[in-house]
């Protein structure tokens, strides 16, 4: 009686699942409350993709900001929701947040256009809608971001200078088909064209070390006349690819991964000729959006795009921190010891304006 066995197992599985589910359902919402405020603003954090260092850091900074002054007494809770790469899921979740009448919704949007309708619904319901890093085109939303095109331009110019305005460059971009990637890449390409540097090829690095390293390896196999590398993410994998191919380093631009910054200051790598600059989307944008959302709830007006700038660090301006305490951060250190953080940790997370009371250890030990 195989069938009977099958049914029994199926029902057993079903009931186990349901029991586990109901047991777990008691308060498994990932949210955080400040220690004392019983009343205060209820804020929702809607994240789309959350599977990389940057996203995790940005989220933790939002939570840490809500748990420290000056926001601590004003916020009752920040509830986090992750929707993954499915735009519909993020739309549905935001609709639920609107139904639950949060005071403000801070969003990392999956797409600049897909959420417009639902964001409009939120604005109409009187909820403050703020996005961070990636912008949306809906006019009523407030986009906390930085000038992506400027980032592409400034970094390309620095690289062109390092290359003495001659030679060939390869580009390792982000995820193809996103406006962030497009803005940065187009600006960089314009600079190279202006300076007379030829772009050999571009490859989608997908904002992750793995694909970026693969791109670089293929480039090294395909071309033997590479004089510079402009990348959005890949600071760890790109030098590794050069090492594996037995080729000498060329000037490069990559993101603010801690390991990359360490190498730029490491005598061993410097001896091998590692030269470059470090920039990136600052993870504190989320915390900034939170802060502004609270101010907006208190009556302040904000324009639809708020440029909070980005940290662009040429090699000479890199500075080690000892422990990541606030005084050190205030003094301008921007690289962390390897044993405190992971290799892909984004080192440009601190800002005197938006995260003044968050030290490295606070960030790393945030409670969900």
């Amino acid at each position: 009686m195989k069938q009977k066995q099958r049914i029994i197992w199926g029902l057993a599985l079903a009931s186990t699942v349901m029991l586990t589910a109901s047991a777990c359902s008691s308060s498994t919402a990932d949210g955080t409350s400040s220690a004392d405020a019983a009343d205060g603003y209820e804020i929702a954090l809607s994240m789309s993709y959350s599977g990389n260092d940057w996203q995790g850091e940005a989220k933790n900074l939002v939570l840490a900001a809500a748990q420290t002054q000056p926001l601590k007494d004003k916020i009752a809770a920040v509830d986090t929701f992750v929707s993954g790469t499915d735009a519909q899921a993020q739309i549905s979740q935001i609709q639920q947040m609107i139904a639950k009448a949060y005071d403000a919704i801070v969003i990392y949007p999956i797409s600049p256009t897909a959420l417009n309708n639902v964001i409009k619904q939120g604005c109409d319901a009187g909820i403050q809608m703020f996005t961070y890093d990636a912008s949306v085109t809906e006019p009523c939303a407030h986009n906390v971001t930085f000038d992506q095109a400027e980032a592409g331009k400034v970094t390309a110019e620095y690289l062109a200078d390092l290359m003495n305005n001659t030679g060939n460059v390869v580009l390792i971009t982000g995820v193809a088909g996103t406006s962030v990637d497009e803005a940065r890449t187009t600006a960089a390409e314009a600079v190279f064209k202006e300076r007379g540097i030829e772009v050999l090829d571009t490859c989608a690095g997908d904002w992750a070390q793995g694909p970026a390293g693969e791109c670089m390896s293929r480039f090294l196999a395909a071309f033997d006349n590479i004089d510079g590398v402009w990348a959005q993410v890949g600071g760890v994998a790109i030098p590794d690819a050069f090492d594996a191919a037995g080729r000498e380093y060329v000037p490069m631009i990559a993101e603010s991964a801690n390991e990359y910054r360490l190498r730029l200051q490491d005598p061993e790598y410097l001896a091998k000729g590692l030269v470059g600059g470090s920039y990136g989307a600052p993870p504190f944008q989320g915390a900034a959006a939170l802060s502004m959302a609270v101010q907006a709830l208190e009556g302040e007006e904000f324009p639809s795009t708020i440029d909070i700038g980005f940290e662009w660090v040429p090699q000479a301006d890199l500075k080690m921190c000892a422990t990541g305490a606030i005084e050190e951060l205030e003094a301008g250190c921007n690289t962390f010891p390897a044993d405190l953080v992971s290799t892909g940790f984004m080192a440009d997370w601190w800002s005197p304006e938006w995260t003044p009371n968050i030290s490295l250890s606070t960030l790393l030990n945030v409670e969900e």
Partner: protein
């Protein structure tokens, strides 16, 4: 192998009796897949000649090395996928088994070579258990492979996100990166390892009882069961193999990338199926070989790199990949078909009834 085999039962009896009388066949006896596997390697050689003429820079040893190393991950993932497809199923959980194993690997290793053994064991065991879960679901509960592996994949995805909270702590030990990349242009160990794997798989496939039983199950599960083969165990085992190879592929990928992160396995869903297809496997089961998959992985990797030298936009490269897959499977079918028609009239109706069963 006879061209005018009598149809029906006698044919069947002959084939099953061969199970118990091990014949001395060469290591490279690929059975029905011979035509297609040869085809993919011929195309690979043609591509290499093309590179020699038009892009000599790519033909150098270091470039070839890069192409092989980058193909290695896909090839290993394709090994498991190919085994599953051989039995008429498909494994959609490979990406998340890769990611989960790699994450566990990195978390345990914490970047220390000393932790390699423990981390490796843990990651492989996880892959094995997940694969076994897939296999048991498919054989014991009769769940369709698409459903079972899809469900496991979804549960893994949510579980991994929940367990890590988005941030993966720890990193793979440097020795894995060394294994994958070599050092200062020297030969990375992954290449000989890959060759060894190919030899091992060929040996198991042809010379061991397990391999022969696998072939029987792939070709005709009903008849093989009647002949005494434990087809359920065999099928469960291929899913377990797929889980283990996915874990290994994940570890290899983390070595290449220098870190583990959520979603790192996602590109390998479609590419693992693609390389198996390029290798000439039949998705109804019963025809396919790792040598074909390996050839397919190398072909795909070489193709992507060659396209890169032509400075085509990403979109064109994707279109080219898809077209190559289509052309390859069409060519494999057209090449194989004339030979097939003569052979197995009696087997044909069995095979067709199996075709319905799964894919």
């Amino acid at each position: 192998m006879t061209t005018t085999a009598p149809v029906g039962e006698k044919n069947l009896r002959d084939k099953t009796s061969r199970l118990h009388k091990p014949q001395r066949r060469g290591l490279l006896d690929l059975g029905g897949a011979r035509g297609a596997v040869t085809a993919v390697w011929i195309v690979l050689v043609l591509l290499y000649i093309f590179i020699l003429i038009f892009r000599p820079g790519l033909a150098q040893l270091s470039s070839v090395q890069t192409i092989v190393v980058l193909a290695a991950v896909t090839a290993v993932a394709g090994l498991g996928q190919g085994a599953v497809i051989f039995t008429g199923g498909i494994d959609l959980s490979i990406p998340w088994i890769m990611s989960s194993s790699a994450i566990v690997f990195a978390s345990i290793a914490q970047g220390e070579d000393g932790n390699l053994i423990v981390a490796l064991l843990a990651a492989v065991v996880i892959g094995l258990l997940l694969g076994l879960a897939n296999g048991v679901g498919v054989t014991r509960f009769g769940i369709h492979p698409v459903v079972m592996t899809l469900a496991v994949s979804a549960i893994l995805e949510g579980g991994a996100l929940g367990w890590t909270g988005g941030l993966v702590t720890g990193s793979p030990p440097p020795i894995v990166a060394l294994f994958m990349r070599g050092d200062a242009g020297s030969f990375p160990m992954v290449i000989p390892a890959l060759l060894l794997l190919a030899v091992l798989v060929s040996f198991v496939y042809r010379q061991t009882r397990y391999g022969r039983e696998l072939q029987a199950v792939g070709l005709n599960p009903t008849a093989s069961r009647l002949a005494g083969v434990h087809s359920k165990t065999i099928i469960t085992s291929v899913y377990a193999i797929s889980g283990v190879t996915a874990a290994l592929a994940g570890i290899m990928l983390s070595g290449l990338a220098g870190q583990s992160y959520l979603g790192m396995g996602d590109p390998y869903l479609l590419t693992s199926v693609a390389v198996v297809a390029l290798g000439g496997a039949s998705f109804a089961g019963g025809r396919g070989h790792f040598l074909g998959t390996l050839g397919g992985a190398l072909l795909l990797s070489a193709l992507i790199t060659v396209l890169m030298t032509f400075q085509l936009p990403e979109a064109i490269r994707t279109i080219a990949q898809g077209s190559v897959i289509l052309i390859a499977v069409i060519a494999a079918k057209v090449g194989v078909r004339p030979g097939k028609r003569k052979n197995s009239d009696g087997i044909k109706s069995f095979r067709r009834s199996r075709e319905k069963a799964i894919l």
